[in-house]
Symmetry: C2
Subunit: 281 residues, 2 copies
Amino acid sequence: MTNATKHIALVCPGGPISRELADNVADIAQKEHGDRVRLHFHDQCFFSCGHFAGTDTERSEALLAVANDPKFDAVWFARGGYGAARLDEQLFTKLNDYANRKTYIGYSDAGFLLARLHKENIGHPVHGPMPTDLPRNNGETAIKRVLEFLVSGDTSEIEPNALSGKPVAAFNITILAHLCGTDWLPDLSGHVIMLEDVAEYLYRIDRAMFTITSNPKIANAAGIRLGRVSDIPENDRPFGESDEELIKNWCARKNIPYLGRADIGHDADNKIVPFGATLCA
Amino acid sequence: MTNATKHIALVCPGGPISRELADNVADIAQKEHGDRVRLHFHDQCFFSCGHFAGTDTERSEALLAVANDPKFDAVWFARGGYGAARLDEQLFTKLNDYANRKTYIGYSDAGFLLARLHKENIGHPVHGPMPTDLPRNNGETAIKRVLEFLVSGDTSEIEPNALSGKPVAAFNITILAHLCGTDWLPDLSGHVIMLEDVAEYLYRIDRAMFTITSNPKIANAAGIRLGRVSDIPENDRPFGESDEELIKNWCARKNIPYLGRADIGHDADNKIVPFGATLCA
């Protein structure tokens, strides 16, 4: 633990956020940690270009600028929502030593970036809540969890199964399926892979699990843990298997160990999962 | 052209069909071609097990049985809908010389099977309408198109761009994205790839195109042609690019030629695309 102020830069690789949300999250940081933390929302967070928080170039440049800036200790993705995969992938070749020391935190669509950073062995990618989680039931808890993790650096907010010393990675199921077969997917051999999703039909979860468990970079994982799959829409007829049953079935079919549940998901309880190996403090 | 009766076996690798639909399609075949064609609906078409037309084993065994049976000239997938990716992949090692002579026709989710057959160089995979297209506006035309193609073997119902002599493949965009990074995806280097989709948000089409255009087995394609993307749901805010614009953008970004439109889609006009190279008769 250190008394120096932690400077956290926020950018939006996908959709934009409102100034009001930014102010509310900054207020929580101030109340909880005073001078020990300062949030820096990049203007790009509030840009709008069709579906996205600015053009692909604007979003790429914002991420590159804050990642390479020695002033910031961490980059916090302020919102998921599709868009991170459209960033200019040349940016990964332009990241400097300062970028390499930083923590990058987010989940859902931001998983595209966590994957690519982990693959390139750049910085410290972390699966965890984002500012857009604030409006959720008990959402302030999720915001405080990330701030506590970033400010104090302790491990109390980390998903307990991520503290075994084995390398770990966490992904949204749909995002991980779309990473398969691309140059953005890290080799997850030996990793415990934690999975979660939201608002997908079970047949889509099952289809994504076909892709995930059929991938050679995932085939030799230490195992899969299932977080929460929430807000599953009703199919026209029942799928016939629960979310956990279908995950177990794909693991069994492809000889990947199923290790049980994980405490992650699109909700306020979403615990923090640092990629790679973390030992219990 | 031959006067011998063509025997066409029908199975359902995904969801089931009704007896009524089977009877209606058989009636069209009888009226159009009399003794020149006979449709054989496998009982498995009418099984039900949760989301699927029978268990994974039942669906796998039905396909294997009709593929290996010398009595049948072709296998027509009667319905798409998720399920083909769950078939026992050992079946591809059990297909015999009779299976290797057959035509396999379907689209949408059946694309999982067309892909794997093309990859294993087994038989003649063909992207084309299925019996479940009958209830569509002008759906009888789609059924007659397949029957004419299978009975007379002429090329008048083939998508014109598939007759250049270049190897061709056609896929639903979402299905092709889920094939990426699996052992089911054929090497599509040198192929003209025709794409279509239905009822997907544009951001999902865009995400799938990231995966597709980032795959090394697709990077050296002769080019991409876009069929119809129909019934696109309204997003909470406009995506900002049309379906063709986003496909063009991904092609440009990944240096894959965009070749223009293709006459395929989830509709009655869906033309026939035999995989591989076909020369204009």
